[in-house]
Symmetry: C2
Amino acid sequence: MAKPVGRRGETRERVLATALELFAEQGVSGTSLQMIADRLGVTKAAVYHQFRTKDDIVLEVVRPVMERLLVLLEEAGARPASQERRRFVVHGLIDLVLAHRRLLGVLFGDPYVDALLKSHVETSGHTDRLTVLVVGETPSPTDLVSVAVFGGGLVSVGGDPNLAGLDDGTLRRELRGAAERLLFTEEVARVP
Amino acid sequence: MAKPVGRRGETRERVLATALELFAEQGVSGTSLQMIADRLGVTKAAVYHQFRTKDDIVLEVVRPVMERLLVLLEEAGARPASQERRRFVVHGLIDLVLAHRRLLGVLFGDPYVDALLKSHVETSGHTDRLTVLVVGETPSPTDLVSVAVFGGGLVSVGGDPNLAGLDDGTLRRELRGAAERLLFTEEVARVP
DNA sequence: GTCTATAGCCCGATAGAC
DNA sequence: GTCTATCGGGCTATAGAC
């Protein structure tokens, strides 16, 4: 599986960086290899020399996130189920989002990427394992909705232009605060 | 602006319904007029007889949501700024999501749709007005992040398969509860 | 490793018969 | 209102020169 990458894979890295930019601006389906090549100042064929297909580019762009997610899942799985483990997973996810701000907002939720990831055995099923780790095997409707809202919100903060001005430290603190309020607050009886 | 729609616009409605289905499955850029026509059992030209361009179809699919959002914005704008108004807007958004479950999750956040809406004067700026109504003119970082998380989460619940089993009543109750915890909870001092 | 050139397909969109 | 047929163009992908 090792590929003989000339001297250094620097062109390869430039392709991936440019692809990510364009995916963020136009979406994956809206980005052609021609656009990537144009922005790099090379031809389509040069890009094809680095990646066999467009799907390979997408998978390579997403890979760092998936690998990191897998590590988080394994670390969490090794711990006993508890409130502490839930918090460990949530904080890990927040840090993951911070480390890949743009990437997550753009690529996850994209139907093209979803289908692509689902067709690759090693990455499919991660989100299901995640849900179980956070809400347990038999979640209540409250748990389900809370996790869905927080998960969806977490993914969307990356690409949110309103939040571009916040530095990582502030964003981490605020996201942890939001998680506490949303996920770790006891239900209070409400009078109808 | 009234269009002379043959006898009844039933074919037109079928096109829109089918388009929505496909947008949900493949994304907007990933859906061709050929796919829409194939699923309907007609040819591309028949679809083109109902809509001048693909963009017209997308705009028409989104229109009910935008119109309802505009009504909500105007009703809210007529009220004095207060906690009560914030809650009114949030509850209105929740009901809007419930009324268009699939549509919202699929189309909003799609770069193609975003660009299309931005180029149409009458719909652009709605989300900005929304943000102001909920968090005010000078939002704190906490407000910004809370609203971003809840907004992103709200949009994503529509397409979430984990939540497909929940009926509208349950989902409304749980979303309101999540909004209370996330948006309307006083900050508590935390010891570092 | 990058180039030119091209194959073959599907795209959005149009014209005109029925 | 639906059809067949077609346009021009962009797409992914390949072949082969430098």
